[in-house]
Symmetry: D3
Subunit: 264 residues, 6 copies
């Protein structure tokens, strides 16, 4: 791959990708609204507001693939989500459509399906049940990706990411954790595949406790290597038992499901 | 029902509802961005921009049910859809949440699933495959409705409307037509039901040729009485045979599926 | 058919069958623990306690079919259900096994699936979710019927009966009502069929509002003719609207689902 | 339609079609290995052996649709089936491919699925379970039709015909009967449809007792009008009850399922 | 966990649990109708007849979890099963309901589904097909557990146990074997989980030959470590090949499926 | 096993089996139309044309199992396929039926399902979609095998073989490759199993990239040990990237799907 664009490069996932994808493409173009570290070798750094259509169309030129992590990744005021996640994602897809149709890894979220119970095993055919306005914007992003694939042949893997940190940080993450290493191998599998169409996947490591199946995506050949199980004792020792009558424990979305409305 | 709000009351569907629902509620509140006929007996007329949050919160006060037809109902420039369908629908749901949680009939559209082939029979579990930016906004509306039901107990029937006119206007509508009479009986079934949760349904009469099943919604007791079949001969005489290699014939969305991108 | 046995003949369903099946068999043998009207032409009346094994084995001699309505048909103390529904049904199946293996119409109940929501459409593959101890005994009866069919070739139609009266008596019965006429035609379809194996069906008329599908049993050729819809206006006028937060409204089992434990 | 080819025109189904499709096309071309009545107005009569490739390629010229009833339609010696049904059907599809790709109504048979039990409801996704060598050749024909559609865009409706006579002739046909009138309306629906792809359907009237579903094909708009039920009394009076331990009663294929091997 | 109750503690499974769960709870309360070894450290030993309601209600006081192995675990006379498995299990659930609603691991059995063929892969949605009266009582127990969960929030894992011994004892057990070690880790996973609702699982190790899937229960994080494969050569050398026409080989229940009726 | 017949013994798969199954049966009978190496110890070599019925009936005498690899295994002229694959396979099954009904491993092919997309995960319930005339003959073979099992109790495992070589030879084989070692262990699992009925399986190793599931066949206990992944770097270095608009890349059948018609 000649040039890979990573949006949201200043965020947690963006930093993981910047570090982890070094060398995967001849050039990595990094973009964020926030300031980023200066460009290193084989890097381009472009500060850019996703809500600025012209800037995004410029940003998406001459790239062979896009890892779209940009936008807001927590619950937020609707008007902010409107700009960053609804308008911003549209701008990105229009940029891709006009600029050679690079394949996109779209960072969707488990919060697009957060109102399913933890006792329910999901796959790509499970209905969306967003747990937050943020989750609704991810459902929208998946619909947009489906549309651009069906009509314009812009391919997307919509990755419903669990939680990606060095290690799981609480009991819920024992089920939702994706290691940075597994995330990197997944991104490579996505861009190395001959075709993907629009594919919904779950971004999660090979944890002992599983809520989600990627069986339908086995053609990609992605087999995560890490498991949260090694951290179980440590986490359980450091936290209280979960209350099974708490919506944050009943539903996959965790605290997003139990939170009230976001009031700005 | 004491007071029913109908948004989009100046449009085609809105006029059908205004006429057809007379007497169903003590008061019908009619709203649109465009001018409407003056209020008749038991009517209230409120001109309102769905993108105006405060106005919408005022509009949704003291109502027991909402037929949400407002917003843009054809393919349009994204920035217009953003205001009317993305922001506007959010404003409406927030209004409902703050004002007693009336049940909502949300006018979704067959264009939320328009990239399925006509040879595929769909039900509520079929994946969304929008055929247009307009269709994407309807997928978004369904996700928003799911969220408000799961978290705030605001119930919605998301009705994927086919085409609602006095009679079908072309060959495709032989499959997608919903008679105004069937539409009215459906609205009544929705608001008379003891509960609906968030329910996805198809708005279509009992046509001979069927693409969609409402079997899962049989608890509502809605059994459409009309069929497009009586108009078949007339329509086939007045139009050319369909070309099976035309995307507008292959896909359920018809011309929405074959159209290129909307350029404003 | 030469001789048909009806158990529970003194009850509501039993009386409907006694009247409605006149002439269907050369002889109708009627049985109950309670006193019954004296035998009319072509009738045999046998008072019998289902918990009395020897008596039941005698009762089941020389019959070509059994309509098993006997036992307790409402929530009751477990010890009473144990005798009538657990022991009694076993005795009946043993009688059938030893006496020529007549086919059995087993009166199961919607209370075997009463904890499914009304918004869920069920068929024969839906999991059992009993709403009462009574419902649990019906699940047991279905399991027993499955066993006797698989191992001993005693065939059964386990009929999950909704509510069988002259007309529906409340709003819930608009969905669950089976007319006596439809019940009779169903019984005949069951005994006239060349084979049934063990078949789970729903006993319900062709109501507008439907919770259950008998599609899988279409080979029987039973097409109910009646609908509760003609009684809707009358019932709605005579009763209050249903509260969607009431478990008796949420769940198919109605008041059985909302009732606390039976304390004797 | 300008010219419709009917193969097997001298057989039972062929005669029904010759009579029933008069006027449906400008010209009906009739073909069989056996002698046929001379051509009437708007008819062409061509005697032709389906195993003769050159003749079949000639036969399929200048036609807009093919009703392929030709070949052997009962159990027979394999070597005969090889010529008529394996080689013959291939010749027909090659003819269609080379001559403008007319749509084909392929007379498949219930004997392609005859080893399913009568208590099992089938649809187009049910696995093939042929009950005879004849049935195996129909499975082959369906596979061939699938191939020609996927690779060459030759469309086919593979119609698993039950039994098509003026009226049902035995108890089994109460479930499998298709009236000639319904068969004709089906053929017209198939050729009038804008597209079919490769579609597997069941050829059966709207009988009370049903083994098969055409729900997936509802886009065609075919709704059979006749039912075997009017003949039930007459047939049951004229025949013995069925023995549920007889394979011919257990399985959908009837006597085809119980017959031993065809020995020539 | 403070106190765990194990019923059926004098039996094979009970002894395995007594040994294997040492230290898992502060106190293990052991119960059986039969005499048990005297209480060791952190143990309580209570002889108790499950059919004695008052005694069972006493037994279930002050416990945080119950492993319910009690009752009869082989085919037996119905009257014995009635007392031990039908009445006994009811008594246990009533005890749990009245005494703080501890979670229950209910020892169901593969004999609840023993009339499925070995060539059929089952999961929790597979229909019950009991192979014995014993199996029927296990179906009943699962229904009871479903009821107590839905109505009273008493959670249960209904574990359809294959065969739990130090090593597999015959060819069938190569597929059904659960090692004591895997059983213990499963019990811990069940009681450590934040919630289970009513969950049907299969109790089987990670054998090479599999009839059952626990995929739906992956949220529990139980991954059995043992496999019967290491014993295959030894077992095959010591036993005759299986006859594929023997019901004990055709059906999952093995000899339970082929046995005639239990005559006492 | 006393005597195992391998047809097609002179071909690629035949040679792998001849070598790999040494010692598995007391005698291996090898057959092909082409010349084979002379018989070694415990071998019988029989040159035989599958189209010669009498010879095939002789060939199938006194064997306990058949690995049927014979016939044409690439796209070919229909008339050649007719002799070798349609007539030849029939002759083989007739031989088996008349000669003690040995179990058969039938070499079906991925080309029976080659027009499914690579992004679709298949199992045994997936519909056949042959990609070639050769693929159609394999669909026919599977139907024939189903028939002989249902009617005559001749069991078959229809193995849809991917590609069996020492190592994968191109990018597509990274998904379809079955190692010779895994093929041998599969054959042994098939013949060692107590029963198989008619079972459709996929012949593929445990590759990282998977298109097919054998989950339904887990009762066999076959767990392939090899993976193509070790060859990925070598193959990708030696070949160009795949074009996602090429039918040979879109469809599972690879070049069989993109090839035009076979013209002889």
């Amino acid at each position: 791959m000649k040039r890979l664009l990573i949006t949201g490069a200043a965020g947690n996932l963006g930093k993981i990708c910047r570090e982890g994808l070094k060398g995967y493409a001849d050039v990595i173009r990094l973009s964020d609204l926030a300031p980023m570290d200066p460009a290193g070798p084989n890097e381009e750094v472009v500060q850019c507001d996703l809500a600025d259509r012209a800037a995004v169309h410029e940003l998406t030129k001459d790239v062979d693939g896009i890892v779209h992590l940009g936008g807001i990744s927590i619950e937020a005021a609707f008007d902010d989500l409107l700009q960053a996640n609804l308008l911003g994602t549209y701008n990105l897809y229009e940029g891709a459509r006009k600029n050679g149709k690079p394949r996109i890894l779209f960072a969707s979220s488990n919060h697009a399906i957060g109102f399913h119970k933890r006792t329910t095993k999901l796959d790509d055919a499970s209905e969306q049940r967003p747990d937050s306005l943020y989750g609704v914007t991810k459902c929208y992003g998946e619909a947009l990706a489906s549309y651009y694939n069906d009509k314009f042949d812009v391919e997307t893997v919509s990755l419903r990411i669990g939680s990606c940190f060095d290690k799981p940080r609480n009991r819920r993450m024992l089920s939702t954790w994706m290691s940075p290493r597994d995330f990197m191998s997944l991104i490579k599998a996505v861009f190395d595949a001959p075709m993907t169409g629009h594919l919904v996947m779950y971004g999660v490591s090979n944890n002992a406790s599983k809520w989600w199946s990627n069986d339908h995506a086995a053609f990609l050949g992605w087999n995560p290597q890490d498991s949260s199980e090694q951290f179980r004792a440590e986490i359980e020792a450091a936290s209280e038992a979960e209350d099974r009558h708490d919506p944050a424990v009943i539903y996959q979305g965790g605290p997003f499901a139990s939170a009230g409305h976001f009031e700005d």
